[in-house]
């Protein structure tokens, strides 16, 4: 009997509650501004989205059928492009141009700042030897930091300076071209730049590549002590620029009048310009010292040979490297 009564009360409450809940829901305050519907813009967006889908499918088809770069780029680029237009139409026609306002964040939170300071100072109160702990923690951190970085040294040596200083040129070494053919004095014509290497040595060593040119003997004006370094006006210099180490790959030797500057070896990187007739001295540009010269001689069969090593250090002027 009591049970039945409870069931009845529960049923009544449920029934009444259902009705009330439905009545209680007021419409919420609008957050987003109202904006006119634009059914035609919606149609346009839908059309653009379909077009984008078609272009994406076209991309797959082009990819499968040979993948022509231009067509692929067109399909994918236009697909992104149509999607972009669809987004922008949505933005300007289907969303309200709202001017919402928001406060900038507080400059700082004064309570929390004070509390952080308080927590820090209260936590540190039992410490009596702060300086000692600070110094020891600092040294432990520093030592550990260095220790953890130490394995990086296994990457080295980054700059193998011995490699840079290796001298492949010695008295009697013959000059060969990049294919390994021996260069003869007759091969060297006026106004032509030749690149040569020491026979039998690794051509990739810094001091290996040299440039060889023939200068009119009357123009030669080499420094004292280099009188016999240029047989028939043929001179050789290191091909590595003394400025930043680029290849001295240009030879300024024009054949036309009226402006006729003296023939010069030029580095195309920063246009350091060297005079082959005067021992590689700097005519112009940022290089700080002359190109190192290699003494030459002509062998019994007319082949070019080195008479010894370079007149100075090969390569850019790193710290310590000088003539």
């Amino acid at each position: 009997m009591r049970r039945l009564g409870r069931w009845a009360i529960a049923g009544a409450v449920l029934l009444v509650g259902r009705g009330q809940r439905r009545r209680q829901l007021p419409p919420p305050e609008p957050v987003v501004d109202a904006w006119e519907p634009a059914p035609r813009a919606e149609l346009l967006v839908a059309g653009l989205l379909l077009l984008a889908a078609a272009l994406a499918v076209a991309f797959i088809v082009i990819y499968a059928g040979g993948a022509d770069t231009q067509l692929l780029g067109l399909a994918l680029g236009l697909c992104f492009g149509t999607l972009a237009v669809a987004s922008i139409v949505t933005a300007f026609r289907l969303t309200p141009p709202e001017e919402a306002e928001e406060p900038y964040p507080e400059r700082f939170h004064s309570t929390e700042v004070a509390e952080v300071e308080q927590i820090a100072s209260e936590s540190g109160r039992p410490l009596t030897r702060r300086r000692l702990l600070g110094l020891t923690a600092g040294s432990a951190g520093l030592a550990l930091g260095v220790a953890l970085l130490a394995p990086v040294a296994s990457l080295g040596p980054v700059f193998d300076t011995n490699q840079l200083r290796r001298e492949p040129w010695r008295r009697g070494v013959r000059l060969v071209d990049s294919e390994g053919r021996v260069l003869r004095a007759d091969d060297i014509e006026l106004d032509t730049l030749h690149t040569a290497f020491p026979e039998g040595a690794n051509p990739e060593i810094l001091a290996s590549p040299i440039v060889v040119v023939r200068v009119e003997p009357a123009r030669l004006d080499l420094p004292v002590g280099r009188r016999n370094w240029a047989p028939g006006g043929i001179v050789a210099y290191s091909k590595v620029c003394t400025h930043a180490g680029c290849a001295v790959a240009l030879y300024r030797a024009p054949h036309f009048e009226p402006s006729r500057p003296r023939p010069a070896l030029v580095c195309p990187c920063h246009y350091s310009t060297f005079d082959p007739a005067t021992g590689g001295t700097v005519l112009f540009g940022p290089a700080g010292r002359p190109l190192p010269q290699l003494p030459l001689a002509v062998g019994p069969k007319g082949e070019l040979i080195a008479l010894g090593g370079f007149s100075g250090a090969v390569g850019p002027s790193w710290s310590g490297v000088r003539e």
Partner: protein
Amino acid sequence: MIRRATRFLDERAGAAPFLRKALRYVFPDHWSFLLGEIALYSFVVLVLTGIYLTLFFEPSLKDTVYHGSYEPLQGQKMSEAYRSVVDISFKVNAGLLIRQTHHWAADVFVVAIVLHLLRVFFTGAFRKPRDYSVVMSVPIVGASLAVLVWGAGYPGIPSFEGRMYIAHVFLLPIAIAVLLSLHLLLVVARHHTQFPGPKRTERRVVGLPMVPGYVPRTLGLALAVAAVLVLLGGLVQINPIWQWGPYSVANGTNGAQPDWYLGWLIGALRLMPGFDVTIGDYTLVPNPFWGGVLFPMLVFAFLFAWPTIERRRTDDRDVHNLLDHPSDMSWRTAVGASVFSFVAVVFLAGSMDRIAVSVGVPYTWQIWIFRAGLLVVPPLVFVVTRRICSELSERKWSEVEPSMARE
């Protein structure tokens, strides 16, 4: 549906309050605020295309002989790295599209980030409380340049290329992504700046809320950036290395020019008078240091130090949420324009050889013209900018309120 999804998220991550706030996060509106977004979106394209390329690129300087579909290189000796790039261009389907899009994305990224930097400088957006979001962004520029430099590939000892590659695809992109995220977090934490206007004050920010207005706009921008980059990648050739042939260290056959964004360093190296600092036979400071190291360091130091310099000069320690019109801040605008013109002249000097070829002014004359330009142009730009700024600002104020015109 949406209620159920939100509740799902809220019960598990407590995300509803954050979501509610984020949906109505206010974006102040100005075209110049989009430059940063363009940089961000091109970075996304850069990373996605880059990941694809790593699957095909081989960072090895080992010698190999080319036997592929590109006839002119048939049978030539080259490095594995060079061969793999030629293969990406000719053998991998869509490889050339992705590779060229990657290169274009890098170029657009650099341009957008530099323009963004200029916008922040000239509008005073770097002042407190945003000084550190700016400090964060200077290394972003630096790291980006580093990636680009390392991306160019170095000849050298064999293990060198591999390590450069790790730096290019792993270390530096992660560094950029981390700095970029921190930068964006700081921007959100202090909210975006705005130009002054009705209702726009130091305390209240006015603009378009994230939903429904801003999301389709920024999505449109992101898609437009992707569209332009992919169209460039598909239609406009860039860096056709197969035309230049493999590089041989020994022969020093380089027709390769550095990319344009290094022009300011090349220009500095070329303009520098030729001297080394020496003690006897000992080279203390080699010449390339001045243009290649000191000059970029000074430019970055200027950017780093500027917020402090200006605070010292104006003694202004206030919080600023409103931007300046460049004309109202004639001193800052003039200094900025003058420094920028200095870098721009050096940048132009980086193409002196191209100018000599196309215009015919001898290189040796240009050196002196540009050196003179470095002394003349920046002070001139300073004076002229200052004058233009004060006149513009005076005119503006006298239109607003004649009595407020400066005496």
